[in-house]
Homo-oligomer: 337 residues x 2
DNA sequence: GTGAAAGCGCTAACAT
DNA sequence: ATGTTAGCGCTTTCAC
């Protein structure tokens, strides 16, 4: 393959490489006549500037990486769409790093940031600790996070008010006549899960109900673990009539377990998930869940991270707590007693 | 941020840059003693080689781009996982290009290939024509396709035997007592849709049933268009008792329309989709569909494209026709009459 | 408005 | 086994 470079174009158009570069980047004015000559040469050669050389010289790649636990989960896919669209409108490209639920990959993918393949990284994952993230940022790497809040003036954060969300779910369940509500958490270390649990406890307390530790089970945000956690709950022989799962995937696991055990949703067991994953609106019975403005959250974090990359001194708001919306569908729409 | 480069490390370790490079890339032997000195300097400086400079010099980026119509559709997400894992095991990175169902983006994203941001591109999309793809490849760009077959010795292809698939679906439906089976196609120009239609016609002919053009409607592989297409079918007032949709998304649109029109699936209308999208196994009634070995297909195309990138002369098989499996679930599991 | 030339950080050919 | 150096294709400073 014949590969043209900027000097070939310069020669063909009888101008200097600097002029071609200036024209390509609109970085300085060029007479209309020169412009036409250059354009003609470019056309004739079918020339495309080499982005790698440009990146090296300009020390920018105009690319961001996004880490998600599993791109197959529509919650993450929707966030990524928001990121992609905002980034694209600001002329940034996106590397999607799909961890496929393998934690180790979180570290591997950081190399994209360290080795300058991308200008910044967005973490939609709980894997790296706050300290690790802060340490990278203090070395000058640009990172934005979604779904968690890190208190550092150079880290843009977009997250949901999980405490409020948890309280809202619990009070809805209570209003439906439930007194004993189980909670299925995600990873123990995931802040999302943690704060939803906090909301759950506050909701219980506000209503004057006791917090029963035996009604809490750990999962890992995946369907299988939700399934297992629910089975453990049943095996314990504790009484409960509702489940609040820290995300939809785990709630799906509860559905599966209920089907196997012949437990009727919502008559015998109310189920509420979180994320408003696409599937929740198709499954029978339709699942109650909590919607987050995923697309907007993605767009917001992309915008703010790009701001951060281009400014360094951060101009204004950096932390965004967004509201979620409880969506009551069939799986919890049944008044007990 | 202090950015170390290879010459800094060389100075710190009292060796030449070549030695550092050689050590980093294991491209030639280095004495254990030098190795340790260099390692120590790298550690001390917290040095990571600049991938952009490396890419420029080596004229490789070790990255592939993958175009998909919509990463939120689990069919594509699964293929991408296969690609990602194979690529990653061969030390390649992946750029996911999510078209978000906007055709124009297909062309925009090609710039990643043209400007050398990636070494190759995998198209899981029907948007570019065979001619366009061939033209790129003839210019030396490396492209692999999935879901279609392009007759060119340098283009690896992995695709499903859609004709066989179509016949299988139709004969299943016929065996359930259906005589008038509607077909919902995807884009008119999509080869997948085209060949499935071909299989549908052959299946009909084999059974001695007539092909009725009024039972064919066009969609675009999305739920909305499937919904509309089905409504048009109904509005035509033609008689039919089964629908074969060219993919699950459109079949989902049929579900929605049936619900609105109070048509019972499968008793009054059998529905079969294609792709075995995750949602088909959760929706009520569970949807019959055709499974393709998505993950394996993704892995295969990645492997073959990387082969092609590294060889140029293509060694062996380039075209892979894989088999699909009809999965009969509730939406077509009802014998008529 | 345009050109000459330095240099981004790395690899690899050539020399020792 | 190790060092020297040219050069990958581009942007940008400094002249003019």
């Amino acid at each position: 393959m014949r590969d043209y470079k900027i000097s070939d174009i310069a020669k063909m158009a009888n101008v200097s490489v600097a002029t071609v570069s200036r024209m390509l980047n609109n970085s300085a004015s060029v007479t209309e006549k020169t412009r036409r000559k250059v354009l003609e040469a470019i056309e004739k050669a079918n020339y495309t500037p080499n982005a790698v050389a440009k990146n090296l010289r300009s020390k920018k790649t105009m690319a961001l990486a996004v880490q998600v636990p599993d791109i197959g989960v529509s919650y993450f896919a929707d966030i990524v769409k928001g990121i992609e669209n905002m980034a694209s409108s600001l002329n940034y490209k996106i590397f999607i790093c799909d961890l496929q639920n393998q934690k180790e990959k979180a570290y591997e993918y950081m190399s994209l940031l360290l080795n300058r393949t991308v200008d910044g990284m967005i973490l939609v994952t709980p894997d790296l600790t706050d300290e690790e993230i802060v340490s990278y940022v203090d070395q000058g790497y640009k990172i934005g996070v979604i779904g968690r809040h890190i208190d550092h003036r150079e880290i843009p954060c977009v997250y949901t008010d999980n405490v409020k969300m948890g309280k809202e779910v619990v009070s809805h369940l209570i209003s439906q006549g439930h007194e004993r509500i189980a909670f299925l958490s995600g990873f123990a270390h995931a802040i999302d899960s943690y704060t939803r649990l906090e909301g759950y406890m506050k909701g219980l307390r506000d209503a004057g109900y006791p917090f029963l530790p035996e009604l809490i089970e750990n999962g890992d945000f995946n369907e299988d673990k939700g399934y297992e956690a629910f089975k453990r709950l049943i095996a314990k022989n504790v009484h409960f009539t509702a489940v609040f799962a820290a995300n939809d995937e785990m709630a799906l696991g509860v559905y599966k377990a209920c089907q196997e055990l012949n437990i009727k949703i919502p008559e015998e067991m109310a189920v509420v998930g979180v994320d408003n994953t696409r599937i929740t609106n198709y499954i029978a019975p339709k699942m109650s869940t909590v919607d987050q403005p995923k697309y907007a959250m993605g767009a917001l974090i992309a915008e703010k991270l790009i701001d951060q990359i281009n400014d360094n001194i951060y101009r204004d708001q950096r932390v965004f707590k967004v509201d979620s919306t409880l969506i009551i569908r069939e799986s919890s729409n049944y008044k007990r007693k």
